[in-house]
């Protein structure tokens, strides 16, 4: 079946640098995408979302980019901080009333002081 996947399992960045986390999705019927952050032992927390009629959305220190042509989603974190260290998941939702939320494999972001 179709699934959401991530290119890299781990990412190490220097504090203060920008981070880019990538995600590939394969379900062309998906029309809503979400990035989540999960800290150890906790449930995922919402970071930012984007609908399929958009290609970019900005939040506080974060930007999500959507390229529907190549089915690619990315999360950019500006001025990465130690508190950004966590596992990041992209997720997609299918169209329709019975839509379900499917997650990618996750990537661990480690921030070096």
């Amino acid at each position: 079946g179709e699934s959401v996947g991530l290119h890299l399992p781990t990412l190490s960045v220097q504090e203060g640098d920008n981070s880019i986390i990538n995600c590939a999705y394969s379900n062309s019927a998906s029309d809503y995408f979400i990035w989540y952050k999960q800290e150890s032992g906790k449930g995922p927390q919402f970071i930012i979302d984007i609908r399929s009629n958009m290609d970019k959305r900005q939040g506080q220190r974060v930007t999500v980019l959507l390229n529907k042509t190549v089915k690619h989603l990315s999360l950019q974190i500006a001025a990465t901080q130690p508190g950004d260290s966590a596992v990041y998941f992209c997720a997609e939702k299918t169209i329709g009333a019975n839509s379900k939320l499917t997650f990618g494999k996750g990537i661990t972001l480690s921030v070096r002081p």
């Binding site: 809503y32 906790k42 449930g43 379900k100 939320l101 996750g106």
Partner: protein, 112 residues
């Protein structure tokens, strides 16, 4: 505001024992409800989701079952636990097609 409650936070159960994990949502009606399992260092595997009372969709064959006896209550069960059922179980809800999912704090299940 909406909140989601999931309990217990941790659970140690012997192989062959039954399981019941409960999740309730407050502050919304007719939510879509989900159960996910997360193995250590892994991603989130969708186990069950429900769009209404008594309506359960199972994503993978397994030793678990789910029920939705009330609009805002979602229960994950097993008659006989296996070692492979160990993991971090997460309940979540969404309000519709284009809304984020809100997660409970999870249950760490260890089957011994």
């Amino acid at each position: 505001s909406q909140t989601i409650h999931q309990w217990p936070a941790t659970l140690v159960q012997p192989v062959g024992s039954p399981l019941s994990l409960e999740c309730t949502v407050e502050g919304t009606s007719n939510p879509n409800l989900y159960w996910y399992r997360q193995a250590a260092g892994r991603g989130l595997q969708l186990l069950f989701y429900s769009v209404g009372i008594g309506q359960i969709s199972s994503e993978v064959p397994q030793n678990l079952s789910a029920s939705r006896p009330q609009d805002r209550q979602f229960i994950l069960s097993s008659k006989k636990l296996l070692l492979s059922d160990s993991g971090f179980y997460l309940c979540a809800w969404t309000g519709g097609t284009d809304t984020e999912a809100f997660f409970g704090q999870g249950t760490r299940l260890t089957v011994v």
